[in-house]
Amino acid sequence: MNWLIEIGKAAALCVVVFTFIAISVMVMVYAERKLSAWMQARIGPRHVGPQGLLQLIADTVKLLQKENIVPRQADYLVFSTAPLIVAVAALLDYVVIPLGKVGDTVLIVRDINIGVLYFAAMASLTVIGILTGGWASNNKYSLLGGLRSAAQMVSYEIPLGLSIICVAMLASTLSTVGIVEAQRGRWFIFQAFPFGFFAFVVFIIASTAETNRVPFDLPEAESELIAGYQSEYTGMRFSLFQLGEYGELFGMSAMAVVMFLGGWSGPRPVPPLLWFFIKTYALVFVMIWVRWTYPRFRIDQLLNLSWKFLLPVGLVNILGIGAWLILLR
């Protein structure tokens, strides 16, 4: 009987988390449109509701009424599975993200022992969805976009993993709650100076690339590949890809906060939960800012950055933190 209650609790939590992701994705899309407008001296959405706030609802309702088109030559089964994989992989990331602390309870779905490893593993599942989605469309642009996207995402998974390991070394644990608690004295970004900071920078760059955002948005490059692996997707399937992508963006930012910026910790009067969201949305803002500031990389520059710069830097970082831990403690 106990098991059934737990399953019910898990299902309820899942619905809550999914709703949270959906709403925060809407907020991020709105923020992205407003901020990009602001940076380009435009106005952005403003007709639906005050300051265009209801635009999100209007968009959702519109998308729900769009027809799901499957190209004649596509592989129907794979074509419809791919967006589900991307969305669910993003959802699974959220299991290990601790949002804050109320009294003595940490607000987290489950504090899994191998938390950060779990996070990296689930994030790596996204590649499969994107690759097969691009292939199943049977469109040259889509396939090219899917292959490029996969090459890019796997390249940046290595630096991402290396900076996660820096954190694991400093905290001596893989559990996300343990990592936040190990930063009580000093955030990891400031520990083992300058290596903690470097690890943070590597993580941010790699997570921007993992979420296929500018300046790493070659797979979608609308001017060359007409949105790459997404070009044959319409209506709700397309939105599932978007949901996965923005969900991953928020998840990666939240993970960066958890691993480097002390998670929910912060000065007293502001509650921990609020601190967490302030920090995370600050990072999301930085990513949006970068998107509307920099042009796109070329694919050779992108791969060079990963393999010839971030990977060596990541390895040196690990050795540096190791030496620091041995010599200075």
Partner: protein, 163 residues
């Protein structure tokens, strides 16, 4: 009861997609079916208290090896291979051998009296694995890096030979 139900579900998640892997005529679908199989095996590892291995299973098998296989299918097959015969002439013989092997193996495992011991696995799995790797299995650890180096060099040489 709960454990048995979980075990049966995980076995189905592992074995049914595995059937698709070995029989599907569409190579991409076969490769995609590897993912639930690997995730089912991950679940089995979890029920066996091997949390760390489970994480690695997802990261390496589902996240890396499947992607590599999909790459190669997309680059060689030119897509599905639907128009080509996928099974060779010895399908019936192969099925017979595999079935016979299954019968023999299961008969053997049920007949043997395994020296089962009761006990609990270490609580912090990753730490236990790390300790074992760096102390008793240090040589394995270092040799692994050599194996990785050799396979990296070998694979690059083979794949790039004609350039």
């Amino acid at each position: 009861m709960g454990k048995l139900a979980v075990f049966i579900i995980l076995s189905c998640v592992t074995l049914i997609p595995a059937v698709i892997v070995v029989t599907s005529r569409n190579m991409v679908r076969a490769a995609l079916s590897l993912v639930p199989t690997f995730l089912g095996v991950t679940g089995l590892y979890v029920t066996l208290d091997a949390e760390f291995v489970a994480g690695i299973q997802v990261l390496i098998y589902a996240g890396a090896i499947t992607v590599l296989i999909l790459f190669v299918i997309m680059l060689t097959e030119g897509g599905t291979g639907l128009r080509v015969r996928q099974m060779n002439a010895q399908t019936k013989l192969g099925a017979l051998v595999a079935f016979g092997m299954a019968v023999v193996l299961i008969a053997f495992t049920t007949a043997t009296r395994w020296p089962v011991k009761a006990g609990t696995m270490p609580r912090y799995n990753a730490a236990a694995v790390g300790n074992a790797f760096l102390t008793s299995y240090a040589l394995v650890f270092e040799v692994t890096s050599l194996v990785l180096l050799v396979s990296l060099i070998g694979a690059i040489i083979i794949a790039r030979r004609e350039e």
